[in-house]
Symmetry: C2
Subunit: 316 residues, 2 copies
């Protein structure tokens, strides 16, 4: 069985951990969001790729869901002594090594997809991890500041401003001229079906789908998504702030309707949102309700198994 | 009093510590060797500038003479896990922060002299620290390997090969087209005299003097050197291997003769080398013998005071 998965960070990583456990023999290709990538201290940081890699490779700080386990912050303390910003983004020593290696190889002209494969040589995540593109796409958020519009990097809005300042627009800058990374379209085409983990529909899945060619390739396959909204609230993170920016209500139904039946064939919602099963706006999408909290690896595996099950059904 | 000092790493840093103590009111400009600079893990490392900065700023690992105190090696261990080389150069976490800041600013197009000043804003070394040049000069060592000549970076020869493979040539590549960093020639011209600490005559002082304009500016001043050779052996490091490459015997007399009376006005040698005082090949150079081991900061201050004293005498 071949499965392609579009992935953001923490939610996707936990779902993928479950998927690998539920389908140990499946060939899983993960297409990771790079719109959150940011240059910090001159180093290229790929938060979503790293979260997936560390989680599946056993190096994650499981409690916080991102960053490395047994982390220390010696370098960051020194950078702060030099007055080098930004102070709002915490990079641990272990994590930093990943960014140093990535930045060195990027500076040598290697594409991000090749570098990601090299990093995975160490982590052996048990999936093929591809960045959505080797080109630079940067998710930008337009906010209002002092009566005027100001555009900031997604990470600045998300981490520094805690997404508390309303976003007027969220733009995957550069996406229109980006090309899918080598292997992305092939993996989607070769997949039995495509899964959308409970990642942020706007800044994770939405940004991946904004790379020309990916949405078309995905739409041609059976696609099953797992709702990131449970009982009218994001399971994790501040997806509501992102959805508000694109005028989508924070409900499992609205997110599925936003993806649309042209993309989505199946949709898993939480039992709290079971009204979505019969929602008229989801006509053409097979909706199933079941518990969706991935509080343990075993529960994540159950949810992944249910997604695979639904994908098989809608593939028929 | 204004003093200009040409400086390598450990020996220069200890001498400068002594000089600062001996002459607390002097305006000291240090012109640091950058021929040892190397790109490691994609980061720009300036070993000599950092050794001077850390030593005078109180951040040095005093026991080993280079690197930071209270150092940890978490990032390096991770880089090793990624199989990223070179394994022969140990960079601590605290030290790494300096290289990250420097590399970030270099990538933004700032000159090394400006960056060095910014780093010194933190360390407040009590001297003005200037790189010899903002241009790239790389000290290369030509060795014989398997019957053929091979050229390696100085650090590879020095650190990886422990200078155990004989050097056929030592070349400051790029020096011929390098320009002195802003302030270098001005500081030398404005100085009451120039001091040469007991740094490596070939790869430290020699490389600085290879930047066009610096040797001329230095020669125009009263210049006093402190011998890095005591009793026919380098006080520290493997200066003998460097001297052999240029055909200079490892003696206090030969090193002074190599600099020549055109450059050197005064020369401090150790009491073990007091025959240099009357050496005919040092005619025209005022030679004085005294204990030269800088085993404590107080002894370093005594030696620096003696150098200043001699400089005043030869300036008359």
């Amino acid at each position: 069985m071949r499965i392609a998965v579009l992935a953001g960070g923490v939610g996707a990583a936990r779902f993928l951990q479950g998927l690998r456990a539920a389908e140990p023999d499946a060939e899983i290709t993960v297409i990771g969001n790079t719109g959150d990538d940011i240059t910090l201290f001159g180093l290229h940081v790929s938060p979503d790729l790293d979260t997936v890699m560390y989680t599946l490779g056993g190096g994650i700080n499981a409690e916080q869901g991102w960053g490395r386990s047994d982390e220390t912050f010696t370098v960051l303390a020194e950078l702060t002594e030099y007055g080098t910003g930004p102070g709002w983004f915490g990079l641990g020593d272990r994590d930093l090594a990943t960014h140093i290696v990535r930045s060195k190889l990027l500076a040598e002209g290697r594409p991000l997809s090749e570098i990601t494969a090299m990093l995975c040589d160490r982590w052996r995540p048990g999936v093929r991890l591809l960045p959505m593109t080797d080109d630079r796409v940067q998710t930008e958020v337009t906010i209002e500041a002092d009566g005027a519009e100001r555009t900031v990097h997604f990470q600045e809005w998300w981490v520094r401003l805690h997404a508390a300042v309303p976003a007027r627009r969220i733009t995957p800058a550069g996406a229109e001229s980006a090309r899918p990374a080598p292997g992305v379209l092939e993996a989607i085409a070769a997949a039995d079906f495509v899964l959308l983990p409970p990642s942020n529909p706007v800044v994770s899945i939405g940004v991946i789908l904004a790379v020309p060619g990916i949405a078309e390739a995905v739409s041609a396959k059976a696609v099953v998504g797992v709702s990131p909204i449970i009982g009218g609230a994001p399971v994790r993170g501040m997806a509501d702030a992102c959805l508000a920016a694109i005028g989508v209500p924070t409900t499992a139904t609205a997110v599925a309707a936003h993806y649309g039946p042209g993309l989505l064939d199946g949709w898993l919602v939480d039992t709290q949102d079971k009204q979505a099963v019969d929602a008229p706006e989801l006509a053409g999408i097979e909706v199933r309700a079941r518990p969706l909290y991935m509080s343990t690896p075993a529960l994540a595996a159950d949810i992944a198994a249910a997604a695979v099950d639904l994908a098989r059904q809608v593939s028929r």
